[in-house]
Every structure is written in C-alpha cells, then in structure tokens.
C-alpha cells in the first residue's frame, strides 16, 4: 500500500508559508536563535482567537491549514502531532505567575493552553474534526512517532486522510535555559556558513510543518512516504549504518537507489561527525542536502527536513541554499532523510517520487 504526501504546509525561519519555488530567496541570519517568519494568521484564524493563541499554536494551525489546502481536503479523518517541548510560552506564563504570586489569584487561560495536546486539540476544534487525535511528545522522536502512528492507521484502513505534523517554539525562558546546557554557539555565526563551522554548538530554531497523508494521491502529489524508522541511543556509528542498510532492505532498495541524501547537519562539529561517517560508509558519491542552517536545531526539525525533501522531489531540483555536497542526478526518485538529535535520537524517512 502506498501512502501519499498530498499536501504540505510549513512555517519556519524561511519564507515557507507563501508558496512559490523552494527557497528562491533564502533568508540568511547571523544569530544563534532563529525565529519563524510569520504569515498573516488572519487567513486561517479569527482575530479574536489570534490574540489568545501562543505562537506554537498559531504556527501549528497555519501549517496544518496550508497542508490541507494543497491537498484539497477540508476534513481529515485523524490529526496527529509531535512536539517535544509543547506549549512553552503558556507554560512559562503560568509558572511565572504561580511563583511570583505564591499560588494565589491565578487565571486559567495560560494553564489551559499549556497542555501538549493544545495544538492538535485546536486544529480539531477549528476544523470540527471528531476523528482520531493524538500527540507525541518524545524529544527527537516526537514527529517521527506521529508519522509512524499515521502510517499504521492508514494501513489499517480506518482512515483515508490523516493530518500529521511536528512543531516546537522557542521562548526567552527556554532559550536561556537551553543555552546554559551549552548546546548553542557562543558567538553569532552566519547561517550559510554554519555547516562548515570548526567548533561545537549549533543554532536554535523553531517552526511547524504538517503533511496531509492519504492512501490515494491528489492532483499535485509528488511523493510517497515510503517508510519511517527510529534508532534510540546507538552504541556506535556501525549500528547506525547497519540500521540504515536494514531499513533500505525492508523497503526493497539499496544505497545505490538513493538519489539524494538529506541530512540534519547542525554545524556542531562533534554531532556532524555521525553524518560524515554514514555518508562515507554508505553514500560516498551521493549528493547531499541539509536543512538546519535554514531552520535551526530543535527536536522536531526533521519535519522541516521532510517538508524540504518533498518539495525537492516536486521540483526535481535541489535549491542552491540547501546543497551540502555534490550534484543530484537529473531524476530525483528517492530521497533518504537522515536526522539525529543530540546524537541520541536518530531517524530515517524514505521518500519516493510518484
């Protein structure tokens, strides 16, 4: 059974919400914290509601709507989201008031909107969707688990169209705390030079990307979601390489069948070493594209990577801003997306042109 990517929507630090050729005018930044380029949310959300919604809810709702619009669907059978951090802004607001006001005189709005399923719940509410609704919150696997759940349900036959997506936001609090863990660059770096950085640390990013998945294709459909797999805490690079070989074999292909490798390189010299090892072992002459210099690092960044990979298949070209190495063949039939988050969460998505 094929599972088609019939529509996509993406809100990110790039101009991804407005359509047009992929990364035609890439935005370059020189900072360690990237923020989304916000579209006019009034297109999808009532003005009164916009004021009460946090950024992650708005970007999630917008990306969800964009993906449904491109797929030509008004009501999916299921909504599945992945978010590692959830609704950080409302969580921070409620926590701050709770601490500062010694647990007295609190109001419910921030608490209500702080739960991790707020985005999926809001999408269901806005669409009037009574179908299956789930939210995965597992760090660098949040989005991948959402995809896997969608694939399993589509194969079961209990749904024909599923909306699946991943999103995370940065807040001032979260950035301050995560910075103290030493995961970001100490000084601003030009994003187009990030992937050649000689030292450790990456840049923080955020965004939302949604996919309208279906068991039948739509007029503009470019690719099938052929497979998704995750690998938790591999002991060494050999385990990653073995996992990829097995993953490709499960989908009846070999590294030679892959036309383009899309990787989650993030400019941290230690973390990027794994991509070097994998490319050297399995894809030494393959063209490679990357995406975290465009969207920043966050646990659901692979959703941006998948959005980009799908667009590359649709356009049959790798935009200059995404090229990391080599030249993709004329016909881009299969893309392997390989991402890892902090060396512990490795994920693999196989896309096939249709």
């Amino acid at each position: 059974m094929n599972i088609y990517i019939n529509g996509t929507g993406c809100i990110s630090p790039q101009n991804t919400a407005q359509g047009g050729p992929l990364l035609a005018a890439p935005r370059e930044y020189e900072q360690v914290r990237l923020a989304t380029v916000d579209p006019d949310y009034k297109q999808w959300i009532d003005v009164k509601q916009i004021r009460r919604m946090s950024r992650v809810v708005k970007m999630g709702v917008a990306a969800a709507n964009l993906s449904l619009e491109t797929a030509g669907i008004t009501l999916p059978d299921a909504i599945i989201t992945g978010t590692a951090y959830g609704c950080l802004d409302d969580t921070g607001v409620f926590l701050t008031k709770m601490v500062n006001q010694q647990e007295e005189m609190l109001t419910p709005t921030a608490f209500i909107q702080s739960t991790h399923n707020t985005v999926a719940g809001q999408i269901a509410l806005l669409l009037g969707c009574n179908g299956y609704n789930n939210t995965f919150v597992h760090r660098g696997f949040s989005f991948e688990n959402a995809l896997l759940d969608a694939i399993m349900i589509l194969k079961e036959g209990t749904a024909k169209h599923i909306l699946a997506g991943g999103m995370d936001e940065i807040t001032n609090y979260s950035h301050q705390v995560l910075s103290r863990f030493g995961i970001y660059k100490k000084a601003p770096v030009k994003t187009m030079e990030l992937l050649n950085s000689p030292d450790t640390g990456t840049i923080a990013g955020e965004g939302a990307a949604f996919f309208a998945l279906g068991v039948t294709s739509a007029p503009g459909t470019a690719a099938t979601l052929t497979g998704v797999s995750t690998l938790y805490k591999p002991l060494w690079e050999g385990e990653v390489i073995g996992h990829i070989m097995k993953f490709l074999e499960d989908h009846h292909c070999t590294p030679a069948d892959i036309d383009l490798l899309v990787t989650g390189r993030n400019g941290d010299i230690d973390q990027d070493e794994m991509y070097e090892e994998v490319a050297a072992a399995l894809f030494p002459d393959h063209a490679e594209a990357s995406f975290k210099h465009l969207c920043g690092e966050y646990p659901t960044a692979a959703a941006f990577g998948l959005w980009m990979a799908n667009a590359i298949i649709a356009e049959q070209a790798v935009p200059e801003a995404a090229v990391f190495y080599g030249h993709a063949p004329k016909k881009i039939n299969r893309i392997l997306l390989y991402n890892h988050h902090q060396g512990t969460h490795h994920s693999f998505v196989l896309l096939t042109a249709c």
């Binding site: 647990e103 719940g121 269901a124 009574n130 399993m152």
Partner: protein
C-alpha cells in the same frame, strides 16, 4: 491487522497502594487514598485533599533503584513498569523486541517548578539538573534506560487520556510487527503547576470527590503510574495472559479546549469505536471503569453518552478515581490494569461515597467491592482536555 494483542501483566503505584495487591486490598477494605497533602509543598495543602502516593522520594528512589533527586514522575513510572514486567511471566527483557510507550502530562515539572523561583530571580540561578528532565520524553527515557529498552521508546501527552492512548499505540506497534512486547501506560506525580491549574478551572473539590453523585462538586487530584504488558499472539501462547485488548478507539469531542460537549459526542464515538473494533455488543460488556472524575461536566457528558450507547442494558460501572483521585496522564494506564484485572479475577470495583442518584441518568455506579463475576468484556474510559476521548475494551479471550 488481524493479530491479537494480549495483556500479559500489569503494575500500579497509586494513592491507595504501592503495588497492585495493595491497591486491590484498599478497594476491598473501602479505603480511598485522599488526605491532606503530605509530600507536595503548596499553600493549598489544607484546602484540597489529594491522593498522594504514600511515600517520600527517598523511599520511592530505593524502591525504583534510581537516584533520589530525579523527578518523582520517573520514580513512580519505574516502580510500576517493573512490577508490570515481573508479573508478565516474561524472562530477561533483552530476549525480546520491547517497546516502552508511556503517557504523562507535565514531564519533570515537579523539579522545574522548584528551579523556577531561583531562575526568575536570576537567569543564571537554579540548578540545571532540576530541569534536565523537564521534557515529557525524558521521563520515559530514564525508565527505558533503567529497564534496558531500546527497540522503541515513545511518549504520549493527550492530557487525561495519555495512558489509554499509549495502550492503543503500543497495540499497533505489535500488530505492525515493529516489536513483540510493549510496556504501555502512564505516569504523573502531583505538582503545584497542575494543582494550581485545576484550581483556576474551579473543578477541585475541597471534600473527597463524589463521582456520578448528583451532589458532586469536582475532582481530587491523585498521582501514580500504571502499566500493562502488551504481547503478541505468538508470545501470549507461551504465557498465561490476563486478558486480551480486543478493541480501542480515540475520538475528539471538538467542542471546547477543556469542557466536554453536553451530549458527550467524543465520549460516545470513542466507546462506540472501541466496541466496533472488538466486535462486542453493548450488552456483552460486564463492567465499565468510568472516566468519572467527579466534575459536573464530565460525569453528565459521560453518563449521557453511556445511556445512548448501552440503554437499556447497563453494565456494572464505577469510577476508581473515587479511590485514587484523578491521576491525569497515569489514569489511563492505572485503570487499564484495574480493568484487565477485573476480567482475570472477576472483580467489580466500588465507587466510593455514592449516595445521590444523578437526575439525568437512569443508572448508578456499583458501591461495593465484589468478586466472582464472570466478566467477558470490560470497558475503560479516559477523556481529557483538548477534546481527547479514548476507550479501551478488554476481553477474556
């Protein structure tokens, strides 16, 4: 999709016991777990009764064999997950392809809220180890790493239905041959964040809660963890499984971010969907473990949906939250264990403090603990914020 998924065992830690036998004894003795707060420091400690797990973090850490300074949510999770595994009859965990799917609502918030006071005073203040496991997924990984589970780890957060959705996803992982065994359920410890959040919604009862009673005025929060061990059909053949997870469904009420629709649309769709998957007729269900929080809104919506689906053959039903409190992300897991055990042991659990018939409903909950019932099918309901409604059906064979 035809493959059957079985429940090979279960583990619970809650306000009424540190393991499954202790919880069952509390039901038998009609000893609910609500009391004044002993372990959670809060200005509301004398206002709202809660069902705390009756042990401090040092004791829980000893039981879990984990460090005392990690989140209580992870300690509770570890204790219940290990009990579940040990009850299953499976041997060394490394012999199987195992997944761990756990629900929780606020991750390591119990530590984050301690961190936050110092952090607000000074952005470099607060000890970082207190927020190292803030993420929901991090709690799951602390336990997966202790248990030696690597084939699949995932975390679900759909508010009060998180634990039930973990069972559904776990069952699908087995049916799709991704793993052979899944420890599935949920965990949550009490936090000031949650307590104050529910207080702003004005749905906390200052007395022990009275689910499905006409005079009910709100819920009591609880804490704990509960997990079942799901196994494939082929593995079940080598074990003595408690029962089978025969049906499940998840629907969205799509009515309001926190309130249930008056006619219980999502509740009805979830229960109906679960029965449809199991192939069970409503009159074949012997017992319903209600979501039954004790709020005005939940109980009437749930009751109306049950009335619509089951009338005129109402099974025995009760809310075990009248003993354990509402354990949020854990509740679906804890109540799945109680429901699976109900089939295995023929138990109908009591609904504590029920006195007044709800005027909207033609049925009332069971009020006494009883055993010896021949229960062929049991339903467990979990409904939550965000409109997330889930129902599970357990069957004897």
């Amino acid at each position: 999709m035809s493959e059957k998924v079985w429940i090979a065992g279960g583990g619970v830690i809650s306000g009424i016991g540190l393991d499954v036998p202790a919880c069952i004894k509390s039901f038998r003795d009609m000893q609910p777990g609500m009391a004044a707060m002993q372990y959670l420091p809060s200005v509301h400690r004398n206002t709202f009764p809660v069902a705390e797990v009756k042990a401090d973090n040092a004791t829980l850490a000893d039981m879990a064999r984990m460090p005392e300074n990690i989140s209580r949510t992870a300690l509770l999770s570890m204790i219940a997950a290990r009990e579940a595994w040990q009850s299953s009859g499976l041997d060394d965990i490394s012999h199987y392809r195992v997944g761990f799917v756990s629900g929780n609502t606020v991750g390591g918030m119990d530590k984050t809220e301690d961190f936050f006071g110092d952090f607000l005073a000074n952005p470099r203040g607060g000890r970082l180890h207190q927020v190292a496991h803030h993420e929901c997924g991090s709690i799951t990984e602390l336990v997966a790493d202790m248990l030696g589970i690597r084939h699949h780890v995932s975390t679900i957060s759909t508010a009060c239905s998180s634990g039930a959705n973990a069972l559904m996803y776990g069952a699908r992982l087995i049916r799709n041959n991704i793993v052979d065994v899944v420890i599935a359920g949920g965990t949550d410890s009490l936090t000031r964040f949650t307590l104050n959040g529910f207080n702003t919604l004005m749905i906390l009862d200052q007395q022990p809660c009275r689910p499905f009673d006409d005079t009910r005025t709100g819920l009591n929060l609880g804490e704990g963890a509960g997990y079942v061990v799901l196994v494939s059909d082929s593995l079940a053949a080598q074990l003595q499984p408690w029962c089978r997870l025969s049906g499940f469904a998840n629907a969205n009420d799509a009515y309001h971010q926190t309130a249930s629709s008056p006619d219980g649309t999502g509740n009805y769709l979830a229960m109906k969907g679960a029965l449809d998957m199991s192939g069970v007729q409503p009159q074949q269900v012997g017992y319903i473990n209600l979501h039954g929080t004790g709020t005005q809104n939940n109980d009437v919506s749930e009751g109306i949906a049950i009335n619509k689906l089951f009338a005129p053959h109402f099974p025995a039903m009760s809310s075990t939250k009248s003993f354990t409190g509402h354990t949020l992300g854990a509740s679906g897991g804890i109540e799945a264990v109680f429901s699976a055990l109900a089939i295995k042991e023929g138990i109908i659990y009591p609904n504590a403090r029920f006195e007044h018939q709800m005027k909207e409903l033609p049925f009332s909950p069971a009020t006494a603990f009883s055993t010896g019932h021949d229960l062929q099918h049991v339903m467990s309901n979990s409904f939550g914020f965000g409109g997330n409604c889930s129902s599970l059906v357990f069957s004897k064979a």
